[in-house]
């Protein structure tokens, strides 16, 4: 009698319910827009038009989505082990070093693909290293990763200010950033993908790291659901006592999972640094680490959910920028409110409409089957 309600069909669970949550989030956001005296319909139009209406908009949407795929995957991997890695922000920030240093060093003589390879490895290692300490503290000392990863975000922030201002800033420059990379420190843009569709990408920085993000989504799926390591991670996440019974080494799994999570968050740094700015700037992560939490929640910690959720948040970022440009009444902060509402309804209030929908489908099922089954085993 623990689960009295029948299971929902997958399309309802993964399609309809998120859609209803989103619709409600946008409806409430519409009220907010109405309250500041603008037309919600026009705002919605602007958002969609801004995010998907023309080549450059789409390019920006997918550029932002790339960041969120990486950070969303990072949070999801940790979730599967029952760990809440809030430190994606700091891990990505420190991983900037793993991208920038190979670029600064190699861009003079190596071809771009070698630089890219070195930067992938560098960002993953740096991100993993930054997650290793909280992971180790959790595994060996029981310090909660939520606390330690938050604190490591602050440490990362201070560290990077120091590094950028005192170490990597070229002499004589006023801006806290590295020098610009030469051409081989820059990732190819994906104009060709847009040309296929006959669209012009304009100045959008949509680049190769998007494809890397998709590859990583597949890798995460394979690791979590198809490897022994993934099996051990999921066992730990669902039931630590069952893991102990099975002889799974708890601290080992916690540390490995945190490092994998940190590595994924770290790879996010490739996109803005090598793909867009072609230099490392102060605060280049820009909150993507935290958006990753919402993306993982909304995507149910599954790559197939995370990619569309990341694109949705990419749309909010890009379309939101467009709205605040066109509607002076609506500031950037308003856009943050709308994003917050989406997180609230899609993540935190995920179960708000579920009981009603479940009942509805249960009754439908009964009616369709015509007769009921006995309450068997």
């Amino acid at each position: 009698m623990s689960a009295p309600y029948a299971k929902l069909p997958a399309w309802v669970d993964y399609g309809l319910i998120p859609l209803i949550n989103l619709t409600v989030a946008f409806a409430v956001a519409g009220l907010v827009v109405l309250a500041v005296g603008e037309s919600p319909v026009r705002a919605a139009g602007l958002m969609i038009q801004g995010a998907f209406g023309y080549g450059e908009g789409i390019g920006f949407t997918l550029y932002y989505a790339t960041n969120f795929i990486f950070t969303g995957l990072a949070v999801a991997v940790a979730f599967h082990c029952g760990l809440f890695n809030i430190g994606g922000e700091g891990q990505a920030y420190v991983a900037g070093l793993g991208v920038a240093l190979p670029c600064l060093w190699l861009d003079q003589f190596a071809p771009w693909y070698l630089v890219f390879l070195a930067a992938i490895v560098g960002s993953a290692l740096a991100g993993a290293a930054w997650a290793l300490i909280p992971g180790w503290l959790q595994a060996k000392r029981g310090s909660h990763v939520v606390i330690t990863t938050i604190m490591f975000n602050f440490i990362a922030s201070s560290l990077m200010v120091y590094v950028l201002v005192d170490v990597l800033k070229p002499a004589g420059s006023m801006a806290p950033q590295t020098r610009a990379f030469a051409e081989s420190g820059q990732l190819p843009r994906l104009d060709w993908m847009f040309s296929w569709a006959g669209v012009d990408m304009g100045g959008a920085p949509f680049n190769l790291s998007f494809l890397l993000a998709l590859v990583m989504a597949c890798v995460v799926w394979a690791v979590i659901w198809r490897t022994k390591l993934g099996y051990e991670i999921r066992t730990m996440g669902h039931s630590p006592s069952a893991a102990r019974y099975a002889g799974i080494r708890e601290s080992r799994i916690i540390i490995i999972t945190m490092m994998m999570s940190g590595a994924l968050a770290g790879m996010m740094a490739l996109n803005p640094i090598m793909g867009d700015q072609h230099r490392m700037q102060l605060d280049f992560v820009g909150g993507a680490g935290f958006v990753g939490i919402a993306v993982a929640l909304m995507g149910r910690s599954h790559p197939v959910g995370i990619v569309p959720a990341a694109i949705l948040f990419g749309m909010l970022y890009q379309g939101g920028a467009e709205i605040s440009f066109e509607m002076p009444q609506i500031s950037r902060d308003m856009i943050t409110i709308i994003q917050g509402l989406v997180i609230l309804f899609a993540g935190a209030l995920e179960n708000m409409f579920r009981p009603a929908i479940t009942t509805f489908f249960a009754t439908m099922g009964t009616a369709r089957a015509g007769k009921t089954l006995p309450a068997g085993e």
């Binding site: 039931s239 069952a242 099975a246 489908f361 309450a375 085993e377």
Partner: protein
């Protein structure tokens, strides 16, 4: 009509495709203990949840003391004098007994007055019903039996006249269960009405006045307890004839397969739970460890199976020494030790995994299930289907989440996994806890088969009946020590006294 405390008429409830309650009629006389019996999933808990307002019936009427009443939530039920003691306790673990009893009935924002009143009332209830509990004890520090008493006190504190107990003895030792039954008798003498939900026939026979049997969502019969028999009830429950007695031939013990010498084990608080214990298990015999829960059996099982470090002592598995100070359950598995843990829901299974995933828990490193670092999903599913067929696991779906299997079928998943490894030593804790009658018969048969196939079986159970019918030798554990070895046909009273720590049990039993 005045002597009817509860009357249900035509109660009907569906959950989607599952027809949990079909047109149920029930009449419970005031001042009686009325048993409701049925296998897991027969609809007992649903019916009680409707009575207590957790669910709404789709159809049907409820009458309390002859008054028709609509119970839309538990507050209405409490108002009508219905109290419920849940199978899984609804207590705040780090609150005191007093705080838990008051919870939801504080009466005002400032607690002082309420506390004084509650303390007095608690003292009165304790005296009246032999329900002694220290009001200032923290719940998580109390043994399960006492926690249950707090649940009962909670209901009585809210003025319950009708008490529903859902599988109350599932977590209790025979001793604690006996005490509970004494409490129930006293409550009955005070005019309270008690509804006892269980799937244990013995309990029904021991305490109830009347008994109703449910099967597959239907109320199939109501009997006066004095006029029925265990056999009749079992047949009504399962719908076919059930073999209650385990048939087994004499044991043919061979080599010593598991040898434990002077083992001492501490629990997580640093208290010695197993003290200098020594015993041997031979191939082809079942050694049963009887004892009241909490006397070190769990720690002993965990230490021998490598989940918990021992402080000192020696263990040999098939003649080879085992390092008891390291935790290496995987290593022991490879050496031929299989372990069916006491707590299948938290240890033996991951409830969110599907059946096939649980079929490899602990053995996922086996090359049979993997290609290098990858799992061989096809091999795992095929293996799972084999086990489903061999152990008659229902529903036969390897991709179904384990949480959706009944208790008996969950246990079969664990047994299939451990027994099919063809181990040398099989350690089984509480093989039939929370398992329905039909499955118990099956599980017992399998355990005997393992013995007859020459395995050394170490069995721990708090069900004395189970130990007596399965074991070839019975060791009794009390306070961390093995206080005696007896033959399985030793009288229940003598074993019971040993379990209670009476040294001269033999004499005392005379």
């Amino acid at each position: 009509m005045n002597d009817i405390a509860i009357e249900l008429k035509g109660i009907d409830k569906k959950f989607g495709l599952v027809h949990a309650n079909k047109d149920i009629d029930l009449r419970v006389r005031k001042g009686t203990i009325h048993g409701i019996i049925g296998e897991n999933g027969a609809g007992k808990s649903t019916l009680m949840s409707i009575l207590y307002g957790f669910y709404q019936a789709d159809d049907g009427d409820i009458f309390i003391n002859g008054q028709k009443i609509v119970i839309k939530d538990p507050n209405v039920a409490i108002g009508a004098g219905i109290g419920m003691v849940h199978q899984h306790f609804m207590l705040v673990e780090n609150f005191t007994v007093l705080e838990n009893v008051m919870l939801g009935a504080e009466e005002s924002q400032i607690l002082t007055a309420g506390i004084t009143k509650a303390r007095q009332e608690l003292r009165r209830l304790e005296h009246e019903y032999e329900l002694e509990v220290d009001p200032d004890a923290i719940i998580e520090e109390l043994p399960v039996g006492l926690q249950q008493r707090v649940e009962i006190l909670k209901a009585l504190y809210r003025g319950a006249e009708i008490l529903i107990l859902d599988e109350p003895t599932g977590v209790l030792t025979p001793d604690e269960a006996d005490h509970l039954f004494r409490i129930l008798e006293q409550l009955k003498d005070q005019g309270k009405t008690i509804l006892l939900i269980t799937h244990k026939l013995r309990e029904i026979m021991a305490v109830t006045d009347e008994v109703s049997v449910m099967r597959r969502g239907e109320m199939v019969a109501t009997r006066t307890t004095a006029e029925t028999s265990v056999e009749e009830l079992a047949e009504l429950m399962v719908g076919r004839h059930v073999l209650l007695h385990v048939e087994k031939g004499p044991a043919a013990p061979g080599e010593v397969m598991l040898s434990v010498e002077n083992l001492t084990v501490r629990d997580s608080r640093g208290v010695d739970m197993v003290k200098n214990v020594s015993f041997q298990v031979r191939a082809g015999e079942i050694v049963g460890i009887a004892g009241v829960a909490g006397n070190g059996q769990s720690e002993l099982l965990q230490a021998v199976s490598g989940i918990r470090r021992a402080v000192s002592g020696k263990v040999w598995l098939d003649g080879e020494p085992v390092d008891v100070t390291s935790k290496d359950p995987s290593g022991l598995r490879q050496r031929g030790l299989a372990h069916v843990p006491e707590d299948r829901q938290h240890m033996g299974l991951v409830l969110k995994f599907d059946q096939s995933e649980n079929s490899i828990l602990g053995y996922h490193d086996d090359p049979k299930y993997s290609n290098g670092m990858f799992l061989d999903i096809d091999a795992i599913r095929k293996d799972a289907v084999d086990k489903i067929e061999k152990y008659d696991i229902r529903p036969p779906n390897p991709r179904l989440k384990t949480a959706n299997f009944s208790g008996g079928n969950q246990q079969k998943i664990v047994l299939a996994r451990e027994m099919e490894r063809d181990p040398k030593v099989l350690i089984i804790g509480q093989p039939t806890r929370g398992v329905d009658v039909g499955a118990i018969e099956f599980i017992h048969k399998r355990i005997i088969e393992m013995r007859d196939a020459g395995k050394a079986v170490l069995l721990v159970s708090v069900e004395l009946d189970e130990i007596r019918s399965l074991a070839d030798r019975v060791l009794v554990m009390f306070d961390g020590r093995i206080v005696g070895e007896r033959a399985p046909d030793t009288g229940e009273r003598e074993l019971g006294l040993l379990m209670a720590g009476v040294a001269d049990a033999e004499e005392a039993a005379q």
